[in-house]
Amino acid sequence: MTELLLRNGTVFDPLNHIRGETMDLAVRDGRIVETVSSKAKIIDASGMVVMPGGVDIHSHIAGSKVNSGRILRPEDHEKDVENRTSITRAGVGYSIPSTFTTGYRYARMGYTTVFEPATPPLKTRHTHEELDQIPIIDKACFPLFGNNWLVMEYLKEGKLEECAAYIAWMLNATKGYAIKIVDPGGVEAWGWGRYLKRLDDEVPHFAITPREILRGLCKINKLLGMPHAIHVHTNNLGNPGNYLTTIETMDCVADLASSGKPIIHITHVQFCGFTGNSWLNVGSGAPEIAEYVNKHDHVTVDPGQVVFGDTTTMTADGPFQFLLHKLSGNKWVNVDVEGETGAGIVPFRYRRSNYVNAVQWGIGLELMLLVKDPWKIYLTTDHPNAGPFTSYPKVITWLMSKDARGRVLARINKNARRRLDLLGIDREYTFEEIAIVTRAGTSKSLGLKKKGHLGVGADADIAVYSIDVSSVDASRDYEVVRRALAKAAYTIKKGEIVVREGEIVETPTGTTYWVDPKVSADLMQQTTASLSAKFEEYYTVRMANYPVEENYLESPTKIEAIAEV
């Protein structure tokens, strides 16, 4: 029995309505408890901010495209290395850190749970191999369904229930967590080098539209009782004027909502929040998108905040990545995956002086500041697409301090500055709001009942930052805040101190969550019976060799979802 007593911390626990109260936290055997014995190890957290461990809803940390990015970019790693210590493994950064380094760097920032948001189902065994070798943090992955041949066929034929059973089978086969949709239908078109940009364009050979795919999968998500909403990367990403596609995408499922629970999450909105009709007049669609989000409860968003500097873009959106390759002239990797999805990778440098990049930077911040309810928006950089996750402390200072973002704003492309509304926005996030957008809100959205809060029974994943709120004003002393967030005073994972003063002291193994929707046995049997013939027809691997066994994962945690079918 290990016990900890965290004393006199300034606690921000939004889910339990604790707003900066000075209080003690008791921990026993990896959980928050009411009290501990006198033998508990005591941590003095006086003058420190205490929050639940960070929960990242969208960060590309593992799997075939991440590793292709590593192989593409030795120049990315050379400039940023991690030495082996007696506790930690060696590794490299910068924008595509090696597996061990990924775990250490998240833990150092007080993050304890991270979700990989795009895994090609056929290659998900690879994703799990990497997730298993990311130490400390808990994790999960979202399999891609938006261009899956069988999904498109079931939906076209109106076989919603069979499609739901197939997805349940696939989630089990991949040990996946949520339904991810990237450029629905568009990646299939890209299999022919073609483009599909509008919601009502027909997917070549499949006679189905992105709208139908989105609506079908949204209904199935509900039928399966999934803990998270459908997680959507829109069509038409990266093109001027695409903020309309984004609003259309959110709106195309609006009528499916019930009970006020979000049913669609639109990710990295910055990439699909452009106004204008060319790169010369591209502007921020954040005010319009924020207005839509403010008025509707069925949708949540994250910005994919741009951080100026060098990074690596990687998405399942093959056609978007090709566009980025043509725009930047940078090297390009494309990987199409049979009957399922694709991927592209392009190194990219976001420049302050570049008009478009500066507008992109502004879109993310405007969105974060204009969406009024922090429970509807989560902090991401779409790591590594808009910037490495190690930039979070910097991004948080932009949210908490008008001065901090003003300093950057003063130095960006002046046409972009003129075009953006950012200068006129005075809002500054509080620590409570930061706690919502980085852990409480993300946990709630993902349906993680024991994460993102510090109530009795919660996982004892805790971040302690050296910020004395009685003397530090985040608006003015943003550098102090940034430094403190980059190196947690303590990170506690499942009741164990893993980081002290920003240094790794223990490297336990985190768990991998996956969702197993229970559909009726008859429906499942009927669906899988017809599936083996389809497998033979569509895949180059046998159906028997496709599923990832549960014991293949080092430390799996199954979450059962109760399906309505």
Binding site: I71, V92, W192, N334
Partner: protein, 435 residues
């Protein structure tokens, strides 16, 4: 007699990793198989020949049997005491074993390198420069109407590649051979070339010139030379037209491109040609990886260290500079002072200077077979076969991961690479802690 038939077996020979073998086992022995090729037959029916039954050590020129624990002890002591050891091989074992190998290399401050260094190393260097437009093999099966094999001979080296994944396969949008065109580029008329619609005989060591000419022809449509690399200009222009006008094309390439004059420059040219073809149509490219898990060796090394092969961990962090940190070059310069070879036979394949140095220093080999490398070793630890006697993850040439299974028991006393390496890692860690 106990009989069983095992379905859906993943073949562990070449990078095709065909996963539909049917293996018949009688009394713990594989007696026959279906759906295999000549290579898988020869391996699965003959693997148990020419192997050792116990660890051996060299004593005054001769080998003598030693206990497993003693072999581990001696290996750990060699590695722990070495200043700059090399850990080489890895493409014929499982990812699980390779993971331990990288950790061991890190622990002893050595270099970990895999056989990529002598086969598709230039392919990876090309990717660093250009990137690559690629796909899984099923995409080719379903969509490709133009298939190019360049400097490779799948009929002999990847016998089922053409029927399972490319020209002869039946896909959703291509029903078979008649729906596809086959171009073969090689210096000689191979058995693969005999099946081609277009056989382009390139002059030896002039692939680079031909690739650049094709690139020019794709860009500007016409060339003024009479011939390039021994190929008439009309043919070059015709091939360029075929490439531009196909709906979905792919180049598969082999060691004829990576190991002929130009090496990584050839790959740069091929990757650039394919990249530029994507302005006109859909075009992809894929190296024909040889060993069944050489792709996995690249993957594991990359996710653990950031780099896919030739990783130097002597400074406490990963450093990568092929040509400098690659096994052949370190050996040829005589810089390393011990070596652990796992699932590979470098003495047969390396240049003479490198092999000589390898046989002069303390050398430990873990391998199921007796090979020239085991014969030159100081300690040999025989292991079981991945995908036959032990399970493990492997990566197909297109990066699709597959879990291979155990079909039969290994001979008594033989352990898997994973178990052997774990034992060595544990003991080496203890020795390192003492010092």
């Amino acid at each position: 007699m106990v009989e069983k038939t095992i379905q859906d077996v993943v073949c562990t020979f070449c990078g095709c990793c065909c996963d539909n073998l049917e293996v018949k086992v009688e009394d713990g022995r594989i007696v026959s198989l279906r759906n295999g090729c000549a290579l898988s037959m020869s391996k699965l029916l003959n693997y148990s020949r020419e192997r050792l039954s116990a660890p051996m050590q060299r004593k005054e020129g001769d080998f003598e049997e030693i206990k497993f624990d003693d072999a581990v002890e001696k290996t750990a002591s060699i590695l722990a005491n070495a200043k700059y050891p090399i850990l080489y091989g890895w493409s014929l074992t499982s990812c699980e074993a390779i993971e331990i190998g990288v950790e061991l290399a890190e622990l002893v401050g050595g270099v970990i390198d895999n056989t990529t260094t002598t086969c598709h190393g230039p392919s990876i260097l090309g990717v660093h420069d250009i990137g690559e437009s690629t796909c899984t093999l099923g995409e080719v099966r379903h969509r490709a109407d133009l298939i190019v094999y360049w400097g490779c001979n799948p009929v002999h080296a990847h016998p089922l590649h053409m029927s399972r994944y490319s020209v002869q396969s039946k896909g959703r949008f291509r029903k078979g051979r008649r729906d596809r065109k086959l171009i073969v580029v090689d210096v000689r008329k191979t058995d693969t070339a005999k099946q081609a619609d277009y056989f382009i005989q390139v002059a030896p060591n002039q692939d680079y010139e031909l690739l650049c000419a094709l690139r020019a022809a794709v860009r500007i449509g016409e060339l003024e030379q009479d011939s390039i690399a021994g190929v008439p200009v009309e043919t070059v222009e015709e091939i360029a037209d075929l490439m531009i006008n196909c709906e979905f094309g792919i180049i598969f390439y082999g060691l004829g491109l990576t190991m002929s004059a130009g090496k990584s420059r050839n790959i740069d040219a091929a990757l650039s040609l394919v990249k530029e073809l994507n302005d006109r149509t859909k075009f992809l490219i894929m190296p024909m990886r040889g060993h069944f898990n050489v792709t996995g060796a690249n993957q594991v090394t990359a996710w653990q260290t950031g780099y896919p092969f030739a990783v130097d961990l002597s400074k406490g962090y990963p450093k990568y500079n092929p040509g400098d940190t690659s096994a052949v070059d370190i050996l040829a310069r005589g810089e390393c002072d011990a070596a652990l070879v796992v699932a590979s036979d470098p003495i047969s394949n390396f240049p003479v200077a490198a092999s000589k140095h390898l046989s002069r220093m303390p050398l430990v080999t873990i391998d199921p077979h007796i090979t020239p490398t085991t014969l030159a070793s100081d300690i040999v630890i025989p292991s079981s076969f991945v995908g036959i006697e032990t399970a493990g993850t492997v990566y197909r040439m297109d990066g699709v991961p597959l879990l291979t299974r155990k079909l039969v028991e290994p001979p008594t006393g033989l352990r898997s690479d994973e178990e052997i390496l774990n034992a060595i890692l544990r003991r080496t860690r203890e020795l390192k802690e003492v010092t």
